[in-house]
């Protein structure tokens, strides 16, 4: 029923256009204008006026949308480096918004102001080296400043992680995340994709001395105010570990190890107060197209005090525990046993 309706509407729309054209033509014929589609005074007047209307309407629309949607923008950064990114973003926005308004206003205003009149003549003004040098130099200076500012931030963020950083692996596969904590030795056991089986979904090499104390979980817990080094792996296609509240993103690439270090600064509890939302939770999203359920590939992130973190970690089974269980019960998944 609705289907038919949609098609009917489409057909009617086309007929409507055809009729409109016919009406225009008849009107033109009445005015004796048929056969010229020359742009006349009233076209210029109408469209010039529209340019002005559009300019004002767009500015109003932009302001309206900005005010209405600004609450959707991510809340304050929950990581140390993120504060730097946010400040830099504001500076950038300030600059581009100024340039945006100046150029757009001139563009539309000139379109309106200098519309064609037969009696007018345009100014023959093919170039002016002085002006051109000025408006090449100013953007150049501003941009170089932005580059310098940006690179300082970038190099800070990308500098090697502190030695004592807590190491956590983010392991991606279609379509879920697993977090592996390095355990008491703060060292991740080796993995090999050929060792993957249902009882050992990350393919951890049990013969590596660092493996036994590794802890595998389906939640990412981060100790607050502690440097954390996230080490990323993928077993199948490219995924991307995206932690928007922590201003953190890095691709997870099969056959490669990537990493990103950060220092979380706001616990989930505190962020709930900041956002006035006691349901609030941090999230880890997949941000590289990875297949049908890409949009569903996420994991809960909990940022908590160091003590809470240790306590939670203590309650988790280690890789060695799990292997024992699975040897005994040959259960098909360690994840279930958690």
């Amino acid at each position: 029923m609705i289907t038919t309706l949609v098609y009917v509407v489409l057909i009617l729309a086309i007929i409507a256009i055809a009729r409109t054209v016919r009406i225009f033509e008849l009107l033109d014929e009445l005015r004796g204008e048929r056969d010229t589609q020359e742009i006349n005074r009233s076209d210029n007047r109408f469209n010039g006026f529209m340019l002005l209307v559009f300019l004002i309407a767009t500015i109003v629309y932009f302001l309206y949308v900005t005010l209405k949607y600004k609450r959707f923008i991510l809340p304050v950064s929950a990581s140390e480096h993120g504060v730097g990114i946010d400040n830099m973003l504001y500076v950038n926005f300030l600059i581009i918004i100024i340039v945006f308004f100046i150029t757009q206003v001139l563009l539309f205003y000139f379109g309106y102001r200098y519309q064609y009149k037969k009696e007018n003549k345009a100014l023959f003004f093919p170039d002016s080296h002085k002006v051109e040098i000025i408006w090449t130099a100013i953007p150049a200076i501003v941009l170089i400043a932005l580059v310098v500012y940006g690179l300082v931030q970038w190099n800070k963020i990308m500098s090697p992680a502190p030695k004592d950083a807590v190491i956590i692996e983010l392991y991606a596969k279609q379509f879920d995340w697993t977090a592996r904590y390095a355990g008491s030795d703060n060292n991740l056991g080796k993995t090999d994709f050929k060792m993957i089986e249902s009882s050992n979904p990350l393919g951890i090499d049990a013969s590596d001395v660092h493996s036994g104390d590794d802890i595998i979980a389906k939640e990412l817990h981060l100790p607050v105010n502690t440097p954390v080094l996230l080490v990323m792996h993928s077993r199948d296609v490219i995924h991307s570990a995206y932690l928007p509240h922590f201003r953190t993103q890095m691709n997870c690439v099969p056959g490669m190890t990537t990493q990103f270090h950060l220092t979380p600064t706001i616990t989930t509890e505190e962020m709930r107060k900041i956002t006035k939302n006691n349901q609030f939770d941090y999230v880890l999203l997949c941000n590289k197209i990875c297949g049908v359920a890409h949009f569903n590939m996420s994991m809960k992130v909990v940022c908590e005090t160091k003590e809470e973190y240790q306590k939670w970690l203590g309650g988790q089974k280690t890789f060695a525990d799990n292997m024992k269980v699975s040897d005994e019960k040959t259960s098909n998944s360690i994840l279930v046993s958690k």
């Binding site: 010229t36 020359e38 767009t58 926005f93 563009l107 000139f110 007018n120 051109e132 090449t136 296609v237």
Partner: protein
């Protein structure tokens, strides 16, 4: 000229105008008149409309193909916007033509990705690369350079047929088992390499890659032809410094294509090898479908380097012709010389050069060496300088002008507006530190749809309105043109402006629904608003399509030079003919922008008018 005439072994050079009709290279050949009339006898339907080697006909073929493909791609976007705007809502009419891809009227998540992928592929390659350059380079290079035709009509014809092959491949792939390619328009492996990873990476992906090979052949044949024609076949007096900016733009674009498309070819070929021959260029350490794969030692990131080495120049291959068209329209309709001609040429050259050393800005968070990232930040932000110069020059051209607000001019103004808006967000994306948090979010979607998608489409539409009289000898209806423009203009900002906020809220692109995270739930309203504008925008294009085809057959006949333009294409007769000009090829005496010259009789002086005839307006040294 008939196809049988073109039996030279190479198909190159001008000899294929057999029977000594004329030589494209030798413009002062005589006796075209009689030969042209008997030329008409050689033509039949097939040689005139189908296997044509005439640049004007090929131009129309590209244009119509692009319009058809644009409609397909636009329909796709409307369908996935329905899902994004009203997630999970049932639209039963979808099932009526999409079958199991939209069971009960709800789009399948896998097919959502297929639609997104094909929408991007078709618009980027069919419409804005093949369609845009194919239409306007073909139409304008010979006509504005004063050439009888392209350097090689035969290669030009082949270029179209390879292009058509690509389009057919894309259309066929919509109907194959498993659906079309679904890994995004950039088709990153391993997702695109492994059918186990996504069903579209089966036969659909094979067709995509084979199609792309055809496309690259088409782009290269076209590009070589454009460059040769501009370099060799300019008429007497048309020095490089007198070329209209359109021609500069088309030539630089062609050079960019010639230098970058072969790299995409290599990337695609290696991907084909990985898919079919078991090589490991891009694959390593993969466990999928319950077992490990034998591939070892490859790097998925290698593919991204190869892809973006083309991919970034490609976005300029799309925008530069649109900018060239805009320069021409703005100067003509402002009745004023383009401001800073040399700077305009210089900035195109600068942008073109820089476009080869910025590709890494698409890969800041791939785990690339941070130092390399820093270098790409520097080069990327430098591109903004020539871009800014172009914008300032457009605005300066409109200052104290006498502007005819034709539909073409409005679209040109729209392009400049988009180029500003989208270019400015590029400055944010180009700074790697900022890109960390907005990479692959809707912020990027907003950026490139405004600066590339919408701007280039507006350039193309503006070009169609402006040169329609040259293409079809008739005028398009201006009132429908205005309605089309205003609805499109409003819709573009309506659709893409709010997307910046989605991106700043952390919403990833290529998500079928924003259901994974609580925090995104309230964004549904934004998405509905966007979808409403998208539907209005799509419907507005029907007005254009109607106007276009109606005017092809029923539009009022045009006068020779409807916009009172200076360039050579308007000196050729309205009725198309082989060889473009019945008598000798016009000779050029001045640059293309003598509009509103002080003390001139009229507000334009065509390039063919010698200085000796314009004594009153000549500047010192111009005689």
């Amino acid at each position: 000229m008939s196809i049988q005439n073109s039996n030279t072994p190479t198909g190159l050079a001008s000899e294929h105008y057999a029977g000594d009709v004329y030589h494209t290279a030798e413009w002062h050949h005589h006796g075209h008149h009689d030969s042209d009339t008997d030329d008409a006898h050689h033509q039949n339907f097939w040689t005139k409309y189908v296997f044509s080697q005439d640049h004007k006909m090929i131009s129309k073929q590209f244009l119509i193909t692009a319009i058809v493909m644009a409609v397909v791609a636009m329909a796709m976007s409307t369908i996935f916007r329905l899902q994004l705007g009203w997630p999970g809502h049932k639209f039963p009419f979808l099932e009526s033509f999409m079958g199991h891809w939209a069971k009960d009227g709800v789009l399948d998540p896998g097919f959502y990705l297929a639609l997104v992928t094909m929408h991007g592929t078709i618009l980027v390659f069919s419409v804005l690369t093949g369609g845009l350059s194919g239409t306007f380079s073909n139409l304008l290079i010979p006509l504005q350079c004063g050439a009888r035709d392209m350097a090689s009509g035969f290669l030009n014809m082949l270029s179209y047929w390879f292009f058509l092959g690509f389009n057919l491949m894309m259309l066929i792939s919509l109907f194959v088992e498993g659906g079309p390619a679904s890994a995004g328009w950039t088709v990153y492996p391993p997702l695109s390499a492994l059918p186990e990873a996504i069903s579209g990476s089966g036969l659909g992906m094979t067709l995509w890659l084979v199609g792309m090979a055809l496309f690259i052949v088409s782009a290269l044949l076209g590009g070589i032809n454009y460059v040769c024609t501009v370099i060799n076949l300019r008429t007497k007096g048309l020095t490089m410094s007198r070329l209209p900016l359109t021609i500069w733009a088309f030539m630089i674009t062609a050079i960019l294509g010639i230098l970058s498309f072969p790299v995409l070819f290599a990337a695609a070929l290696l991907l084909i090898f990985d898919r079919s021959l078991g090589t490991s260029f891009y694959l390593s350490d993969i466990f999928i479908g319950g077992h490990p794969l034998a591939h070892s030692g490859g790097s998925p990131i290698l593919y991204q380097h190869l892809f973006w080495f083309l991919g970034h120049p490609e976005v300029y291959i799309i925008i530069i012709p649109a900018l060239g068209i805009t320069s021409e329209i703005i100067a003509t309709q402002s009745r004023k010389p383009i401001f800073g001609y040399k700077a305009m040429v210089g900035s195109i050259l600068g942008i073109a050069f820089l476009s080869f050393i910025v590709w890494g800005h698409h890969m800041f968070v791939t785990g690339m060496n941070p130092f390399l990232g820093s270098v790409f930040v520097l080069t990327t932000l430098i591109v903004a300088i020539p871009s800014a110069v172009k914008v300032f020059n457009y605005i300066a051209t409109m200052w104290r002008a006498n502007i005819v607000l034709s539909p073409g001019m409005l679209f040109a103004i729209g392009l400049v507006s988009f180029f500003i808006t989208g270019g400015l967000t590029g400055i944010i994306l180009g700074n790697s530190a900022l890109d960390i948090n907005i990479h692959d979010t809707y912020f990027v979607v907003a950026h490139f749809h405004i600066v590339m998608g919408s701007a280039a489409i507006f350039g193309m539409l503006g070009g169609v309105y402006h040169w329609f009289p040259r293409l079809y000898g008739r005028m398009m209806n201006k009132k429908l043109g205005y309605i089309h423009f205003w609805l499109s203009f409003v819709s573009v900002y309506g659709v893409f402006f709010p997307m910046h906020f989605l991106g700043l809220a952390g919403v990833p692109r290529r998500y079928y629904a924003d259901s994974a995270y609580e925090g995104f739930h309230e964004l549904v309203n934004v998405n509905s608003l966007i979808s409403v504008f998208a539907i209005i925008g799509a419907l507005a294009q029907l007005i254009f399509i109607y106007n276009f085809f109606y005017s092809v057959f029923r539009g009022p006949k045009t006068v020779q030079n409807p916009w009172k333009s200076n360039t050579l294409e308007w000196t050729a007769p309205v009725e198309h003919m082989h060889g473009n000009w019945p008598g000798d090829i016009p000779v050029v005496h001045r640059w293309a922008y003598d509009y509103s010259k002080p003390n001139a009789e009229d507000d334009y002086i065509p390039q063919t008018v010698p200085f000796s005839k314009t004594k009153s307006s000549n500047f010192p040294g111009e005689d």
